[in-house]
Amino acid sequence: MSILRETYYLYIRNLKVWIAQPMAVISPILTAALMFLVMGAPLRGVTQLPGFPSDDYNAYLTGMIIVMTIVFGGGDVAMAALTDILSGYFDKLLLAPINRFSILMGILLVAGTRALSQVVVIVLIATLLGVTFQGGLLGIAVVIVAATAFGIASACLGLIIALKTKSPQVTMSTWLLFMPLAFLTTAFMPKELLSGWFKVAVTINPVEYVLVGLRTIIIQGWQWETILPGLWALLAMMAVMGALTTWLFRRETA
């Protein structure tokens, strides 16, 4: 059987598992909506600070909410995979005369699908809240594609932890790792308004560059000097995470 056919069937299966748990579908979107609600309105005043790059705080937040929703989604994808490993279903897949790579692809494609659907909903919510995307329709498309790719990279990180520890407790605690990745950024304040160790941490956090890239497209448009570092950071994360996950997956299933 061709690897594409295997991947397709495993993708559909994993997609069904995701949809079969409505809370897993709804709660990230609900969280995203809540973030607009609890942060957007009360913190609106910070746009008055000198040096703040936008006069619409919701627009500023959109990038952060996308990144945060998708980063945390990586842990969910890893948990779903770990559930299969622990239940023994994963062994059933390993017993089948199929390529190991299609098993991994089936997982990662669902990670991409989840991220895609989430970012589309967030963009819709933002639009309803009056956010204008400075990058235009093409900008929206780029944000969606980049967020999807970022979702796959996050899922890889979660999978590495799941495969390495095989522990639901540790995998569920992946957010402990994701937390600093998502928060040690300019999620709430531009870098000019940050100081001390926080600023240093933000500078070395690759997620920050992805966030800035996405946000630039949203609030400023095509300013390549801030978009490109984000693109490189995203590509680098995908390459490193993808390679590590594939290597570990091969080793664990040999």
Partner: protein
């Protein structure tokens, strides 16, 4: 070709990282069409051996040929030729039974249509047609075992591995599963199962290997293994009607019984005799007639066959039930993550 064994294992060794020697230099073969069993307590190496043969685990050394293919060189061909129902039933709880089976079939190269009709046929065979549309997570333990078994049969494999297929089942479900397995074997499927249950090995297997601490300690048909232990044991108690003294009947009966050629040993104690015979079921009617002809009243007679328990006891010096359960390999592997020490 058909004379070649379907499983051929030579000097198989598995040492886990950390030094546990789970399988220690074992040799055995399984013939095509045979119903073969591995009998042994927890931690004996049964599951490890089976996982190596099913290509889920790498061996440390030795040689293993399954369905004509080498486990190292051609695992993909082995995967196509075998079905494996594992001890920890790995099901897709969120999928309806039918969908679960159809995907299973598709992954083994069937078209969707073929997979659907095959799944329907197999669900019928194990009496699950009425719940085919229900999510597997809602199935009872017995139903889960059955759907897991048929999942291993979707691609019609000539060789079926079953790791403790009836552990945790109630007697009724167990009996039903045994009947399916006999049916399958009757249709020509070679079955290799592991069990801790003497009764199961005795009922199903044409040949068994007793495995203990990673080594095969005895091998043969259940009957021949039991015969090695000795024949049947008949215990009789005589009536005490007050006309004769205590033990008088035993004294009269003993020499008469001893003369019978099927009797291998007799011992008397008070009002009863313990008689060891070669074939109990043939001996009982004859003994009763003999005692009756000599007016010796029999108050009670019972016969016990040696069981595979006795066989296990003979070869290992322990009974299988007395073994403290140590959990299977999966649990062992999980323990560090649960914050527990390996046992």
């Amino acid at each position: 070709m058909t004379d070649e064994p379907i499983v051929d294992v030579q000097k198989l060794v598995k040492v886990y990282p950390g030094g546990t020697r789970a399988v220690s230099d074992i040799n055995f073969t399984v013939a095509r069409g045979e119903f073969f069993g591995f009998l042994g307590p927890n931690g004996a190496g049964k599951t490890t051996t089976m996982k190596i043969l099913a290509t889920l685990l790498r061996k440390s050394s030795g040689r293993a040929i399954v369905a004509g293919y080498d486990v190292d060189r051609d695992p993909m061909s082995i995967r196509r030729s075998i079905g494996f129902a594992m001890q920890e039933v790995g099901l897709d709880d969120l999928a309806p039974g039918l969908d679960f089976l159809v995907l299973q079939g598709v992954l083994y190269g069937l078209s969707r249509r073929e997979a659907r009709s095959r799944a329907a046929e197999l669900l019928e065979l194990v009496g699950l047609t009425s719940v085919a549309g229900r999510k597997v997570g809602t199935y009872s333990g017995g139903m889960r075992r059955r759907v897991d078994l048929v999942a291993a049969l979707m691609h019609n494999p000539p060789l079926l591995f079953l790791d403790e297929p009836t552990t945790g089942l109630d007697p009724q479900s167990r009996l039903a599963l045994w009947e399916y397995l006999e049916l399958l074997n009757g249709r020509g499927v070679t079955i290799f199962l592991t069990t801790q249950m003497m009764e199961e090995a005795d009922r199903l297997c044409q040949r068994i290997a007793i495995i203990d601490e990673g080594q095969i300690v005895a091998e043969g048909s259940p009957r021949s293994l039991k015969e090695e232990v000795g024949g049947d044991v008949i215990r009789t108690t005589f009536g005490s009607d007050g006309r004769e003294e205590e033990g008088a009947y035993s004294e009269r009966a003993e020499p008469l019984v001893k003369e019978r050629d099927y009797v291998t040993a007799v011992s008397s104690a008070g009002n009863s005799l313990t008689i060891t015979v070669r074939d109990g079921s043939a001996a009982v009617p004859d003994l009763l007639r003999l005692l009756n002809e000599n007016s010796i009243p029999v108050a009670n007679l019972s016969m016990a066959s040696p069981t595979l328990d006795d066989v296990f006891l003979k070869y290992t010096g322990r009974t299988i039930r007395a073994e403290e359960a140590t959990g299977d390999e999966t649990e062992q592997a999980m323990r560090p993550w649960l914050g527990l020490k390996r046992r």
